[in-house]
């Protein structure tokens, strides 16, 4: 093969806190190898230098909350061979999707002195509601090792080793004692996508569901557990209404507990 050109990577931001793209800078030890294997062509958080598209890989952070962004994402799709959304905002609408459950106009009236300057959509939606997405990497924020794994898998033409099963499996692989069974602590682990290496349960805290719903999540059964253990309906609503509130399984579950 002729001397291989390095694949071009671009990082794009929509409505988000920047935490996920910062995970890439947070790679530290691995960052040099990443930079050695790919050309970072567009990554405003890291460098002002911008290389023109098209791009081999686009990492998209953030959700769609404005008419302008709803347009912009299509342009990015057209310039990207392989488009990966990263984080709860891009994959599920993020914490800002809480507005999807309320009247946005009322928020604007209450918060802004001059509401006429505000141009926003009524909803915060995942990127996949607007364009075709090649891969979704979950998490709030994403796990930096999984982020590298995605790039690694792309470079080596293989499937990423990123499992869609419950957090429980990670707890058991680590030898954690189940906090639900042994302490009676409510934990979203059984319905949540793995990826954090069971961070909270490892410190005796219930899972908050940062990585969103796992494959085939039985949220109803877990909500029954909560009811039986004295949780009120509004507490059940709140537990499913976090960073991944608008992810379908969590959204349906929380809505079913609102009167």
């Amino acid at each position: 093969m002729a001397s291989k050109e390095k694949p071009k990577l671009a990082v794009w931001k929509f409505a988000s806190c920047d935490g996920c793209q910062l995970s890439l800078l947070d790679c530290e030890d691995e960052l040099l190898s990443v930079a050695g294997a790919i050309e970072i062509a567009n990554f405003p958080e890291a460098s002002r230098a911008v290389v023109k598209g098209p791009y081999d890989i686009s990492l998209v952070e953030g959700s769609i909350t404005t008419p302008h962004d709803a347009e912009r994402i299509h342009k990015i799709r057209r310039q990207s061979k392989f488009l990966i959304t990263i984080g709860a905002c891009a994959t599920a609408g993020g914490i800002q999707a809480l507005k999807n459950f309320k009247d946005v106009k009322e928020f604007i009236r209450l918060v802004y002195a001059n509401p006429s300057y505000i141009e926003t959509l009524n909803t915060s939606t995942p990127i996949s509601n607007h364009i075709h997405v090649d891969y979704e990497l979950h998490g709030c924020p994403v796990n930096k090792y999984q982020l590298i794994e995605i790039i690694n898998a792309f470079l080596n033409n293989r499937k990423p080793n990123i499992a869609p099963h419950s957090v429980c499996i990670d707890c058991k692989l680590k030898g954690n004692v189940c906090i639900t069974v042994a302490h009676g602590t409510a934990c979203l682990g059984p319905v949540t996508h793995t990826g954090c290496n069971a961070l909270c349960p490892s410190y005796n805290r219930g899972c908050f569901g940062c990585y969103g719903p796992k494959e085939t999540p039985n949220t109803g059964s877990l909500a029954d557990w909560m009811s039986k253990h004295g949780f009120r309906e509004e507490e059940i609503v709140r537990s499913f209404r976090g960073f991944n509130a608008f992810a379908e399984a969590f959204r349906k579950e929380s809505e079913s507990h609102e009167k």
Partner: protein, 367 residues
């Protein structure tokens, strides 16, 4: 039968360590009894017991200082014999080829202290899976051959125990190096000791002990019989294979699927569940690759993924697969049931699905 007095129990651990065994046993961590390295009896859950029910586990203080006054916790010995995650081999790229570098087999000699009869039977089942037939898991075999087993007979039963139904307890009949029956009675605290191997006899010869008197042997038997008579659960195994396989479309599978979280906890805690998956990793340059083995579960979608998709998309089909394999088709595959009645899948299911209740529901409606 011999007697080891409580105050000499540490000498047993010392003798094992002197013979280069790493002593592993029950210890309290995070509100449960787990298996970990223990250096003296003070690491054991002295004076603790466990209250278990479906989806519920709590430690409580006993009113004596028994060393083994509880049943099984969330972990089993498979964590040591077939570790949850380990590297099988690595490879480096050499031009257009690659060179495989085998992983050195870890030669730790484990002494397992406090292996319950149901767990011993679970080890026999995994022996069959990993070491019989044409393909032998060398890692498992080495660890298993090196292991020293101190079995502890159960003198009390737990809330989710049903070893009597599965004919796996509460007394260890074979396969141990040393077996113990703990007797705390009338101000005495002793262990009835039996040896089951030359290794066991050698260790026993290195620690002070005396011959048991009939009265002590009777006390031990009485306690074990009492445990057998007070099982927390019962599983009717008569004709169970046909019962399950003739009822693959029974509405109970839909009912259990409404509750099942498909979280895989039951399979992770099961001492006989042996499934693993393989994960191949590369470095960014693609010059170096590694192959890792990890515990897997039939409750995940990927488990039954073949070209075109997953065979068991519904939770119903996954639960049915697990239970019918465990209780029915295991007989065809390995010549025994895959269940030893330890009750872990009942206790550690977050929503308390009870395998004995599921069998009963199918049985009663099929009469």
């Amino acid at each position: 039968m011999k007697i080891l007095i409580r105050s000499n129990f540490d000498l047993l651990l010392e003798a094992l360590r002197k013979n280069n065994y790493k002593t592993i046993g029950p210890t309290v961590r995070d509100g449960a009894i787990v298996y970990d390295e223990i250096n003296s009896t003070s690491d054991l859950p002295i004076g603790w017991t466990d209250k278990q029910d479906a989806g519920n586990y709590r430690l409580e203080k006993r009113n004596d200082d028994a060393l083994f006054g509880y049943v099984v916790g969330p972990q089993s010995w498979k964590k040591f014999l077939n570790p949850p995650v380990y590297k099988l081999w690595q490879a480096d790229k050499r031009g257009h080829n690659f060179e495989i570098i085998p992983e050195k087999i870890e030669e730790t000699k484990y002494a397992f202290i406090g292996v319950r009869p149901c767990e011993l039977n679970a080890i026999f089942i995994q022996d069959k899976v990993f070491t019989s037939g044409e393909y032998v898991n060398k890692n498992y075999k080495l660890r298993r051959d090196n292991a020293f087993i101190v079995a502890v007979n159960c003198v009390e039963s737990g809330g989710t125990c049903f070893c009597v139904s599965m004919n796996t307890g509460p007394k260890a009949e074979k396969g141990f190096d040393i077996s113990l029956t703990e007797i705390v009675k009338d101000g005495h605290h002793n262990f009835l000791i039996e040896t089951g191997s030359e290794k066991g006899e050698k260790i026993l010869s290195e620690i002070p002990h005396r011959t048991a008197v009939q009265n002590e042997i009777d006390s031990g038997n009485e306690l074990i019989n009492n445990a057998a008579a007070t099982m927390g659960r019962v599983l009717d195994t008569s004709n169970i294979k046909n019962l399950l396989l003739n009822n693959l479309d029974h509405p109970q599978w839909d009912k259990v699927a409404e509750r099942c979280l498909s979280c895989a906890n039951c399979t992770m805690v099961c001492p006989t569940c042996f499934c693993t998956t393989i994960e191949d990793t590369t470095d960014l340059t693609g010059e170096h690759a590694e192959r890792w083995q990890k515990w897997d579960s039939c409750f995940t979608i990927d488990f039954s993924y073949i070209h075109g998709g997953s065979i068991r998309n519904s939770v119903k089909s996954r639960y049915r697969q697990w239970m019918t394999h465990k209780l029915a088709t295991w007989h065809d595959q390995f010549g025994s049931s895959g269940c030893v009645g330890c009750g872990r899948c009942i206790t550690w299911c977050p929503v308390g699905i009870d395998i004995t209740e599921e069998v009963r529901a199918i049985k009663e409606s099929s009469k």
